[in-house]
Every structure is written in C-alpha cells, then in structure tokens.
C-alpha cells in the first residue's frame, strides 16, 4: 500500500482530515512529528494546513526550520511527491521548495468560503485524476493566501506550466469575487517543473468525503496514490 507521511508542526490543525482523505483514496497515512529527521520510508509527504507556530511572524516562517525539513528536501530532490496544503504551501514557499510567497489577503481579513478553482495542469502528483480545465469548488480558509512573485518568477511559472490551480470568477456573480485573496494572476496553486512538488491554498481534504461534502477533493488524493502505484517499488530501500 502507498504510504503517505503527514507532517505535524506545533500548531498544525488539518492533519486528521488529511489522513482521512488519504485513507479514503486507498492509501495509508501516518503522522510525522516535525522534530523527526526521517519520513520513515513514506512514498509521499503532505504538509497539511493549520497555523504552525501560530503563524507568528509570517505563516510558515518558523516551521521551515524544523528538523523534518531536511528529510522533505531530500525526498523532493529524489523526485518524491511533496504536497503542501494552505499552511503547508506557505511552508514550502518559505523553505524555497516552491517559488514566491504568500502574503496577507488584499481584503485584510481571514477569508473562509468556497472558491471556484480551475485545474490547469493535470501532470502533477495531485491532479492526474482531474480532467484538464476542470472547475472545482474547494473551500479556502486563510488570512495570508495572496500569492506574490516577481515578474521573472511569474514568467518562469508560466513557461514551465507550473501554475496548477487558479481561482475563477462565477460569471453570474456580481457580488462575490472569484479570487478570495487578491492573489497574483488568480494563482491558487503551483508546482515545481516536474509536477512532483505541489502547493495550493484551497483545502481539497475538506471536500474529499462524499458523506458530508461534494467529494470534489477526492481525486486530489487518488491522484497522489495512483501516481505512485507504478513508481513505488523502485523507491523501496
């Protein structure tokens, strides 16, 4: 079975539902404390949402110095899947595993609501089970979700098709903007050129279970599992 490490920092608070979403997708997941120095042989790693270190200073700024970061870096360098959701995305940017930064929402308020999201790239470890151009409705819940990058970085992201998700306006809606944070170019999620390191602000794990939600987040996790099914044996020690 595909094994996923879900990293827990002090202040992480989405780890349990992330584990459940992995399990619903047919994988097995275990929590890894941030002071660990190894991922325990996991095939993939997810940095879940929350408020690591209270988001004090800047979200993700303190967490990136945790001992586990080295193991995550190595895993990513070896081509292993590394996924950051919300606070996890912020940590990946702070750690330099993804470019750009996530800054305070333009509206200056924490914003929690469903957002329309378009899947732009399906060759990533978390989107291969979505149709290209698919429109999803995923919850966002953050105070610092506004993606920014300088123009060179942005050009690189475009050229390498590293923009995975963007926010989309509901054309019929003249009241609520599509982009909840004012993110540059409506960017909701990006990846490394290979599509193995992915960060996104919306929370697919919150809509993975059809019992209480739309289930639209489930393919995010099945993608992670299926992308590894072929690759997994080669990666065993």
């Amino acid at each position: 079975m595909i094994r996923v490490a879900v990293v827990v920092y002090p202040g992480t608070n989405c780890e349990h539902e992330t584990v459940r979403a992995v399990e619903l997708a047919g994988g097995s997941a275990s929590l890894v404390w941030h002071r660990a120095t190894s991922l325990g042989g996991a095939d993939a790693v997810i940095l879940p949402g929350g408020f690591s270190y209270g988001d004090y200073l800047r979200s993700g700024a303190i967490a990136r110095f945790s001992p586990i970061t080295e193991a995550i870096r190595r895993h990513a360098a070896d081509g292993g899947p590394v996924v950051g959701i919300c606070n996890g995305f912020q940590i990946l940017c702070e750690a330099g595993l993804l470019p750009g930064a996530l800054t305070r929402n333009a509206g200056l308020r924490f914003t929690s609501r469903p957002a329309n999201v378009i899947v732009h790239r399906t060759e990533t470890v978390v989107t291969r089970d979505y149709a290209p151009g698919a429109r999803l409705c995923l919850p966002v819940a953050n105070g610092e979700g506004r993606f920014v990058a300088d123009s060179k970085t942005l050009a690189r992201l475009r050229d390498n098709a590293q923009i995975v998700f963007t926010y989309a306006a509901d054309p019929a809606d003249n009241l609520i903007p599509g982009n909840p944070s004012g993110a540059l170019e409506d960017i909701a999620g990006i990846c490394n050129p290979g599509g193995t390191v992915v960060g996104c602000m919306p929370h697919p794990e919150r809509v993975a279970d059809p019992l209480v939600s739309s289930g639209e987040g489930a393919p995010f996790f099945t993608s992670l599992i299926t992308s590894l099914v072929g690759a997994a044996p080669a990666r065993l020690p």
Binding site: Y56, I62, F65
Partner: protein
C-alpha cells in the same frame, strides 16, 4: 514641506507578546542564543506635508492616537525625517 514619519508601535510593557515569545524561541533554536527578549509590533511609514517638523510631529502623534495605535495595548514612537 515634505516629511516622512517613521512610526513604531509596540505592545505595552507587561503585556503578553505571544509573537515575540515564539520568535525568541525560534532564534534560540537557530543558534542565535545571544538573543533574549523579543517584542513584535508594527512599523508604519507615513509621508506627509507639514509647515515644519514640529507640526509634522504633532499631526503624526494625532494619527497614532486616533487611528494607528490601540491605546489600551500599544505604545508608539515617532521619528520625523525631512524629505524636502
């Protein structure tokens, strides 16, 4: 004349400063063990017109008192830089 006010707004002494605590803790873990207390607040720069530096200071103090600082929890300090 043109001035730039450099305002620092910091939590009042004695108040818990959770951000400062967390940063102090992180600095220690990062081998900056020479750092002890850390306090975190806001830095605000305001560009303004005023007749002279004294007038500028007076206006910026009023801005702090009415809008920028929370008198219950914060103290502020102002420096005025002449720009022209």
């Amino acid at each position: 004349m043109k001035f730039r006010a450099h305002i620092r707004i910091l939590p009042r002494p004695g108040l818990l400063d959770p951000q400062g605590q967390a940063i102090a803790h992180a600095l220690t873990e990062l081998d900056f063990s020479e750092a002890s207390t850390v306090r975190v607040g806001k830095a605000i720069e305001v560009d303004l017109e005023a007749a002279n530096a004294t007038a500028a200071t007076r206006r910026v103090r009023a801005m702090c008192a009415t809008l920028l600082a929370n008198p219950v929890t914060e103290d502020f300090r102002i420096e005025i830089e002449t720009r022209s």
